[in-house]
Symmetry: C2
């Protein structure tokens, strides 16, 4: 038998008690959690089943699969209807389900089991909790940052003359995986899709995608229209590398720009502007800061440099310069014009002020930061300038 909860007892208690406080604050009596990302947050592992957390009283882990897990509160079930047998008469007056990630059919089935409970939404609540990382989570993110950095430092050596963007991406994927990258790219929201990462060379960066990522690309097939499209990498073009940093279950997000030799002065200027924006936001991003004010910094600096036409895309623009990152790539806070998020200590945020320069491609950087009282601490520390392939 193996322990179901892989978190230390202290870490588990911290996360559960924060969830209980949120429930109590919202006047909710219990939460029933089934999303893999949230189950991983609450237990340190993924299992098929549910974590039932009452505002008052012990948590229960309802497990469908795998076999062989044990611990306080572990109850094996074959189907969710069996939850009712365990809960018995302690039916919560209000039950929070993950309405933003669970399907209509699954919510209907769960609601029927708790027929007398009023349904509330656990999704925004869990998103807010998960946005503020614990020390243990930050340790895992720093490990991912270090490993991702090690891979990025070796990217220039992977290039061979005549390579396509796809061939380069495959070699980066291989290097990442051998370094321990899990590959999996957890994203909240079904409509977001990406395979391991995005390598954008030259004009392909200006191809718009259906997805809500910072950058686009045509992709290799209309069934997955994002990223590299098989073009040969040419001198004078930029090659933007934004590849998965999930080495621990917690992701860092990092982008660097490469070129065979160099890129034109406009692209160089835009790249420098991206580095400067990151530094300016990192300095300003202390706890209590409005996320939208950080977007304004980026927008102003891009405009002052005369680069607004290229900022966050050229033909199609993204509506944000940064986003929370952790178990999923699109966490809170969002650094966007109309964001209502306020930065908190131990938010972990990826900043990606990028530019698409026609005839050159995408330039700029992305780093992952931890919000501290001194500003944002970078945990993805590879060289930031445009790097020539060697």
């Amino acid at each position: 038998m193996k322990r179901l909860v892989l978190l230390s007892p202290e870490e588990s208690a911290v996360r559960l008690s924060r969830l209980r406080s949120s429930l109590a604050d919202a006047g909710i009596d219990a939460a029933l959690i089934s999303d893999n990302a949230n189950i991983y947050y609450l237990t340190g592992r993924v299992f098929a089943g549910y974590v039932y957390v009452p505002a008052v009283g012990p948590e229960i882990y309802f497990v469908r699969r795998p076999i062989g897990l044990e611990g306080d509160g572990v109850v094996y079930i074959r189907k969710p209807e069996q939850i009712a047998e365990t809960i018995g008469l302690n039916v919560p007056a209000t039950l929070a389900l993950e309405l933003d990630v669970t399907t209509w059919s699954d919510v209907s089935r769960l609601s029927a089991i708790f027929g007398e409970s009023k349904t509330a939404n656990a999704s925004p609540l869990m998103r807010r909790l998960r946005a503020v990382k614990t020390e243990a989570e930050i340790r895992l993110m720093k490990i991912s940052g270090e490993k991702q950095e090690r891979v990025y430092r070796r990217v220039p050596h992977l290039y061979r003359q005549g390579m396509t963007d796809m061939e380069l991406q495959v070699e980066i994927e291989r290097l990442s995986r051998l370094e321990g990258c899990l590959g999996q790219f957890r994203i909240s929201g079904d409509s977001m899709e990406l395979y391991m990462g995005n390598v954008l060379a030259g004009e392909n960066a200006d191809n718009p995608t259906p997805y809500d990522f910072a950058m686009g690309g045509e992709g290799l097939d209309p069934s997955l229209p994002v990223g590299c499209n098989g073009s040969i990498i040419k001198p004078g073009e930029s090659v933007m590398v934004d590849v998965n940093g999930n080495y621990t279950g917690y992701m860092t997000d990092m982008t660097r720009t490469f070129a065979i030799t160099t890129v034109d002065t406009l692209a160089q200027k835009a790249h420098k502007c991206s580095i400067d924006i990151c530094a300016a936001i990192a300095a300003a991003g202390t706890p209590g800061t409005e996320a939208k004010s950080l977007y304004t910094i980026a927008e102003k600096m891009a405009a002052e440099a005369g680069l607004e036409r290229y900022f966050m895309g050229h033909k199609q623009k993204a509506g944000f310069v940064g986003h929370g990152v952790g178990i999923e790539i699109n966490e809170l806070p969002v650094i966007a014009p109309r964001s209502k998020d306020i930065l908190a200590e131990n938010n972990t945020i990826a900043l990606e002020p990028k530019f698409v320069i026609p005839g050159v491609g995408a330039v700029g950087i992305e780093n992952t930061y931890i919000v501290t009282t001194q500003g944002m601490e970078c945990i993805t520390n590879a060289p930031q300038q445009i790097i020539s392939f060697t």
Copy 2:
């Protein structure tokens, strides 16, 4: 401007008219489709938005992203509420939404837009439609099968002495990607997760997973507990390779078993039984056959060979021997004991009767087949015996 619908006009008409017939049969007035897999099915591309298909009247493509698509019925929107403006007074009495894949929150928002419509479930309807492939879809599946086969034939040459299961998987991933594999593994259902594929060596095959796949594995991290776990591949163990065959937007699913030299006689017997089960089911699987009767064939043959303890897993067992495959890896029909599915011509089905032998590992094969009036035609034709690494 680019064409929104990438299917030929004839192909598009076939798929839409089949959907319209299903709607009419079910007494539903219109469907609003937003799932990426279903949008790809109806248009030949993924976009962010909705396909609105009334049982009677022209279809409308509501597009949020990317910019620059055009064609009959294309309407750009920023938010779903704008759909109402276009529909105007033609509000359907009954509207089908994808209740099994769309979140509670998104369904609620869409239902509110169509306030006067009764909501029906488009998910089972689309799953049934997509289970029967058109000739154009079968062409794409055959291309995937050929490419996947080419990769599998080269797997024995990727092994190096002292390699871990993970290192072998990475080299297979690289080879697949260079052959054109898109990597993306479309799965219906949020709780199913896997990165590109599963390489199971030795005892790791007996580690149970939370996921509803045929085989398990501990995985590299508790955040993604499935597949290879970093063990060194040892003589006498089996190495089961089940890696992504998505080369065209349509996947084939294929498994082969390898070994450094050979495996013991029990494992050899089980492997042969797997090949025999595939052949027996393929011969029996004509249109009109009950899916559950094919499961019974597998179960009986495993029992007659004295292998039921190892059939479809040892410590934890999977509940099926086959599944539909196409745009997603888990389509209809399901070959399981209580399946109500009936085979139809041009179903595409992966059969994977597998065994886990303690002390050896996973053995058996998997192939993808097309259901024809003559039985099931295999489209993944690499050698089936246990193959020694060279």
